[in-house]
Assembly symmetry: C2
Homo-oligomer: 174 residues x 2
C-alpha cells in the first residue's frame, strides 16, 4: 500500500483512543507487568509514545521542512520514559498522550504539506538521509509496532495459563 | 501472572471498544488489506472473533460445566467468517461483536463460577483434556493475539514506505 497522508492521519488520530479503551480500566497488574529486564510494560510503552510526541515526529518534520543547512535530527532517547513517567498514573499518561497527539496532528495539518514536500529530506543520526514521506510512514508504523507490543506483553502473561492451547497462539512464542 | 477471573473479564470487556476505536473510522483500504493469500485483513479478523463468540467460548464453557459424559467440544471453524461476513460492513461487524461479547460476559457472570469449577475439564477435539481455567485464559490471549495480528497486518502495509527505519521496527519483519 502506498503512503497516503490522510490515511496516515486517521491512524495517528485513532491511537490515543485505542490505548484508552485498552488500558484505562485494566488492573494495575496488567498495566505494570513486563517480561523481565529490558522489556517494557504497557505503562512504559505509553511513556515512550509521549516522548516521541514531544521530541521526535514534529521536531523532525520541522527540520525537514526548514530551509537550514545540514538538517540533522537530534538523536531520539528510547528510554527517556523511565524517568519522565515516574510518579504518574496510567490515566495521567493516557491523557497526556491524547493531548500531545491532538496538538501534533493540528500542527501537521497547519503545515499545509504539499506532494513535493514529502520528498524533502533530513539526516537521521544513524540511518542517514530520510524523506518526510518515510518519517510520517514511520510515525504510523511505530504506533502499530507498539500496539502489537502491548498485545504481546499482555498475552504472554497468560503463556502458562492457556495450557495446551499455547501451540495455537503465535503471539505467545515471539 | 496467574489466571484471575475478574482481570480476565476486564480485557474481554475492553476488546470491542479497542476494535471500534481502531477500525471504525479507518479508510477501507486499510480495513480490507491482507498480506496476500492465506492471510487475514482486519475485516477478516473481526469476523473470526464474532464466530468465536457464537460457537466457541460460551458453548465450551457450558459443556465443561455440564454434568454430561464425555464433554467433547465441537471443532471450531477458523474460516467461517469468509462466508458469514459477506455483504457486511466493518461497522456491522464491530456492532455485532460488541453485542455478542456483552451478552457472553453477562452469561459468564450469571454462571457464578467457583474456584473448583475452574478445574473442571472438557475434551478438545485435537488438544485433549483442557480445564475451564485454560479455556478462559485462552479466550483472553486469543483476543490479544488478534489485536497483535491487526497491528501487524496494518504496519506491514507501510513496510516499504518507512525506508531505512524498517530495521528499527520489529513488527515489519514478522
Amino acid at each position: 500500500m502506498e503512503f497516503d497522508f490522510d490515511r496516515s492521519i486517521t491512524l495517528l488520530h485513532a491511537t490515543p483512543l485505542i490505548l484508552q479503551s485498552w488500558l484505562d480500566q485494566l488492573p494495575l497488574d496488567w498495566i505494570l507487568s513486563s517480561e523481565g529486564e529490558d522489556t517494557w510494560s504497557p505503562f512504559d510503552v505509553v511513556g515512550h509514545l509521549i516522548h516521541g510526541e514531544k521530541t521526535d515526529w514534529i521536531p523532525r518534520t520541522e527540520i525537514i521542512l526548514s530551509e537550514g543547512e545540514g538538517k540533522k535530527f537530534e538523536p531520539f532517547d528510547r528510554f527517556a520514559m523511565f524517568n519522565e513517567s515516574k510518579g504518574k498514573t496510567i490515566h495521567d499518561l493516557l491523557s497526556e498522550f491524547e493531548d500531545l497527539r491532538r496538538q501534533n496532528i493540528e500542527r501537521l495539518r497547519s503545515l499545509h504539506i504539499t506532494e513535493t514536500d514529502f520528498d524533502k529530506t533530513g539526516v537521521h543520526p544513524d540511518l542517514g538521509v530520510v524523506t518526510l514521506r518515510q518519517l510520517i510512514s514511520t510515525w504510523v508504523a511505530h504506533d502499530l509496532d507498539h500496539l502489537g507490543q502491548i498485545a504481546g506483553v499482555m498475552a504472554r502473561q497468560y503463556k502458562e495459563e492457556v495450557g495446551p492451547w499455547r501451540e495455537y497462539l503465535g503471539i505467545l512464542e515471539t
